[in-house]
Assembly symmetry: C2
Homo-oligomer: 229 residues x 2
């Protein structure tokens, strides 16, 4: 049985390891809220273990093996299923589900996982728009681009938002910017990353704190319907 620390470690490696680069100890330490020395320790321990979850090279960092990857995906599946279950079946607000899932993901049985998935009819995305890995470790890729990269004048649909920051989620919730919803990108503010948008007829300025955590697909150009002056 893997400890919660190990599960969290592997999960962190997975989510930092875009492509198949090495993941450095500092980035991991940052993601885990720990000190780099602690990460080095754990990395060395896991690399030496028979579990074969990852490989470690001094001063390079860490890379998941096949085994490690599927462990990570299992934990992430737990996490996202739990988030969705809490949200849909128990009405937990979307800014709270992450923290709750963070604890529950390590203690539910496979059987319980299956039952939750069945109750939700084998869902594929979680409340923040992130894909739920399948039991056999497949992740459906969801095309999206950072909101910051969208040129003004386009209508976009929210694909996914970062689930880590509860305050951000409450803010987005107030603006009704849930995955699946659409809004128009009107323009960039003069300074910083802020963007002015229009959702449901209401124009707003989207704070620069929020922009980097929103991923969208471009639906099309803005159409000027009425007000043809």
């Amino acid at each position: 049985m893997l400890s919660q620390s190990v599960e969290n470690f592997v999960k962190a490696v997975y989510s930092l390891q875009k492509s198949d680069e090495w993941v450095g100890t500092s980035r991991l330490a940052n993601a885990l809220g720990q000190r780099p020395a602690s990460v080095t320790n754990m990395a060395q321990k896991l690399a030496k273990s028979e579990d074969g979850l990852l490989i470690y090279q001094a001063y390079k960092g860490v890379k998941l093996t096949e085994t490690g990857t599927s462990v990570a995906l299992e934990v992430i599946r737990h996490h996202r299923l739990i988030e969705l279950y809490l949200s849909k079946q128990l009405g937990v607000p979307w800014d709270k589900v992450h923290d709750e899932a963070e604890k529950l993901e390590h203690v539910i049985s496979e059987d319980l996982e299956d039952r939750m998935a069945a109750a939700l009819e084998d869902p594929t995305i979680d409340p923040h728009g992130a894909p739920i890995p399948t039991k056999d470790g497949h992740v459906a890729p969801r095309p999206s681009v950072p909101l910051a990269s969208v040129e003004p004048g386009h209508v976009v649909e929210v694909v996914e938002v970062n689930d880590h920051d509860a305050q951000l989620l409450r803010y987005l919730g107030e603006l009704d910017l849930y995955p699946g919803n659409r809004f128009s990108v009107l323009g960039r503010e003069s300074f910083g990353q802020s963007i002015s948008i229009e959702r449901d007829g209401k124009p707003t300025s989207l704070g620069e704190e929020a922009v980097p955590h929103i991923f969208v697909t471009v639906i099309g150009e803005i159409e000027k319907k009425k007000d043809p002056e």
Copy 2:
């Protein structure tokens, strides 16, 4: 934040502490699946701590304070709510809910507890017939007697069964001996604690493993309905 070890410790003390006697380290060790020395350690640590969960006297044992009692009741409320939730909302069989709840009870938030309770419409007993403590720490007493103490010739109703032994629960499930169900006590077997019973017209011998874990109320005398020979 109390650790899981501490929560389990306090819970164990609570459930062994009928009346207000001291609870000895051996009994605790036995209940916790640990060695007596480990229990002494923990008892001394907790007694010295500022949390004030319990008092400890060398060679006597341990006794919960008010605070300790309400912590225990909180954990037990979690446990039993979770058991019932899993059973009713997710169809987890009653011999599995205990182990699952044992892990979940330490990680759910108060908010989640409230939501589960609401979804179940503020239930008062769990799948094994045990009372669910209220949020303010009240336990509705449920009058019952050990099945072993019932004289043959009576109809009884199952009030509560011990939830610790999954095998026992499967056995009782096969016999349909769920809390709320009734059966007749026909007689005692010549040796051991076995009892012959009749449930739903079907006579059975109830193994001596099972008898001490069943608690009932006496409903009345057996009436010979048909077969008046």
